[in-house]
Amino acid sequence: MNATPLVRRPLGCLKNSLRQARQLKESRLLVARGMATTTTETTGSEAPPPPRHHVFQIIDRKTKKTRTAFAIYKPAIKPSLPTLKELPPILSPPKLNKPPSNPLPALHAEQIKKMDPTGARTRLFAKTRGAARVGDILMVTHRRSGEPFSGVLIEIRRRGIDTAILLRNHLAKVGVEMWFKIYNKNVAGIEIVKRAKKRARRARLTYMRKAKHDRCDVSAAVFAWKKTRKVTTIKASAKKAAKGGKNAAGKKAK
């Protein structure tokens, strides 16, 4: 309908038509201005409810107001789906902003309390004066394997419940290293056989693997320690003496 009059219109009418168009434009602008003023007034008093169906909301960059636009296609998301505001309060922004607290330390503390109720194991490898330090000679008595393993403490790996120690010794002229978990129930006892003369300047004495620095066999130190312990325990109590005697017997059998 519109196309036919355009075709039929003579060239002389161009000026007329232009004028017409200008007028139309001006009138539209006027209408727009009037609408704008009215909207500013209305937003102050009451916000119009956002249309829900087939509509997605866009935040205007300059005005920071939400304006709506119609979807070209049907949205994939069902319009009945709850919006962010309608979701339960667990997912509300203030709680999300709070950083989640780490549950691991509490869990470790609980497990350590369970595995080491007296706190003796924790104390033996704490960062205190009396505690075992790298360079000391330790003896670990294992419940399953028969003989206690003794060696130089090379490393302490502090990882909560997984805290472990690395001992190094020479058995039958071959270097042997063993990791023990200190909170393991199978580890019946850990004893300090000999203190290091000096505080080690390293956290890990891995240089002891080299022949130059190797402490080699520590059985002499262990033997001397067992002797002294036997003497003291006889004086202390009969029960402990029996234990010492048993140890000595094991030594003889070896």
Binding site: S145, L171, K173, V176, E177, M178, K181
Partner: protein, 131 residues
């Protein structure tokens, strides 16, 4: 982690001193303690300067022999069930025949306890120590 070309100490009195792994028996990538390997004897024990003929009289194996062996120590750490870990300073093995009986009559040196789990009781009983 014993694999192709790994050199191991032989710690029995079969006559081999150093052997080279040429095959890990079973579908395994690396052999650990208690695993069976095929190896070549590279050095004989007590092979002096005057020649091997005199020395090899008592020896059961010679240089170049291909034998089976059981790994008894590894430099690679071996995890145990309870979280403890063991590591030796060398790789060592004990020669066996195809039936699984040790070639030598003696084992000099410590062996890993994993042998018990893999049922090498003969080698365990011959060893002076186990760790």
């Amino acid at each position: 982690m014993i694999q192709l070309k790994t050199m191991l100490n032989c710690i029995d009195n079969s006559g081999a001193a150093i052997v080279e792994c040429i095959q890990v028996v079973g579908q395994k990538r690396h052999a650990s303690i208690g695993d069976r390997i095929v190896c070549v004897v590279q050095k004989q024990r007590g092979a002096g300067a005057e020649g091997m003929a005199a020395a090899s009289n008592a020896m059961k194996v010679k240089r170049g022999d291909i034998r089976h062996a059981v790994v008894v120590r590894t430099r690679q750490m071996v995890n145990r069930r309870d979280g403890s870990v063991i590591r030796f300073d060398d790789n060592a093995c004990v020669l066996i025949n195809k039936a699984g009986d040790p070639v030598g009559t003696r084992v000099n040196g410590i062996v890993g306890q994993e042998l018990r789990k893999k049922k090498w009781s003969k080698i365990l009983s011959m060893a002076p120590m186990q760790a």
